[in-house]
Amino acid sequence: MNEELDSQLSAMFDNELPAVECELLARRLSRDEELRGRWSRYAAIGATIRAEGGERLNAELARRVSVAISAEPVVVAEPVRPPSRRFASRLWAPVGGVAVAASVAAAAILWVRFESPPDQVLAQSVPGTASGSNVGQSADSAASYVVPKSIARRSIVPSTQLANYVVAHSEFSSPVNRRNLLSALMASESGTAGAPSGSEEPTEDVNDDAKSPQ
């Protein structure tokens, strides 16, 4: 037995060995009977100094426990989630929040784009044909229902700006504020891009715009 190993064993017995060395020595201690014998004697020395041994310093307690434990099934603990992972999740939480905000904003943009083209396409490809809400309109008003490009742009551009704003500021804003902002975004979307399918207001806009060239 080398002196360094014995010195480590003595320090480990006192809980004074660095954790990394403890890991290695614990592995060896559990397999090396001679080392465990020395470990036992260290315990007996301490017990004698503290007058702890009672009547039986040579007790066979460890052997009896060992025999009893050998009949027991092997215990295996469930893996414990390391604290660093929780720490990492805390670090990633704001990034996750930004990602959620970004995906909501992107969904809003896609929704706007999905909602607006049919009107454009319908209005451009079938001029004069009333679509959805425009059923029953006069031929004149239907003919004027040509959605100018500026209208379409106007319905998307504010959304993009708002979405960018949300994404840029979501990191610094509380979830409640973020939700309010997104609600405002959605409301503004329904007031502009979403309206052509079910509201009369765009018709007025369209009519106004359509009137101006005339």
Partner: protein, 203 residues
């Protein structure tokens, strides 16, 4: 240095299925635990039985041990509860005064079986011998080694506290304690190997 780092290393090994690591923990704390249980029961044999039960309970419960407290603190609580329960159940159990003559022989055999080594004359001699040897070895130690081991084992000071008390580096403390243990252990092994030849009984 964490106060429980070496115990925790052994606990983690047990939790991964290594029974030998649990044996090391038992060897380290058996004397402390028996002394603790002796507060509740006078009979050393009974104290050992209770300590054994406490160790087995601890082994079974180890998968749930998360290391939030020191291992010994956790073990201490188990031992206290086991001892209290043992005392309660012993007090409840009826005492049988009438021992049949035929059973008496069997009973005496059983009692003999329950008598542990230290209750036999040989066991008592050995225990006495261990005490005298350790105490003599400590007395023979150079003063700095003796002070270091006593501050550690009797007063429970950490290496850092001993270093401050002895005005020396922590590395020197570690070396002094190790050399003190080696000197005592050398004498202790002589006792077992020479006299009674029962080195393994310390385990």
């Amino acid at each position: 240095m964490s106060a429980d780092v070496s115990d925790l290393s052994l606990v983690r090994r047990v939790q991964s299925g290594d029974k030998g690591a649990f044996d090391a923990l038992v060897r380290k704390y058996q004397h402390k635990l028996v002394k603790l249980v002796m507060r509740y029961v006078r009979n050393p044999a009974e104290a050992e039985d209770i300590a054994q039960e406490a160790f087995i309970k601890a082994y079974r419960a180890l998968p749930q041990f998360r290391g939030d407290s020191a291992f010994y603190t956790w073990l201490y609580r188990i031992a206290i509860n086991t001892a209290k329960n043992a005392v309660v159940s012993r007090d409840r159990s009826p005492i049988e005064y009438n021992i049949d003559r035929n059973d008496a022989t069997e009973e005496s055999y059983d009692m003999q079986g329950r008598m542990k080594d230290s209750e036999t004359p040989e066991g008592l001699v050995l225990t006495d011998e261990i005490r005298r040897t350790v105490n003599a070895a400590i007395e023979a130690l150079p003063e700095d080694l003796k002070t270091a081991i006593v501050l550690r084992e009797l007063d429970g000071l950490s290496y850092e506290e001993i270093a401050a008390a002895m005005d020396c580096p922590v590395g020197t403390v570690r070396s002094r304690i190790f050399r003190a243990r080696e000197a005592i252990d050398h004498r202790l092994r002589e006792v077992f190997e020479g006299g009674l030849g029962r080195t393994e009984d310390l385990g």
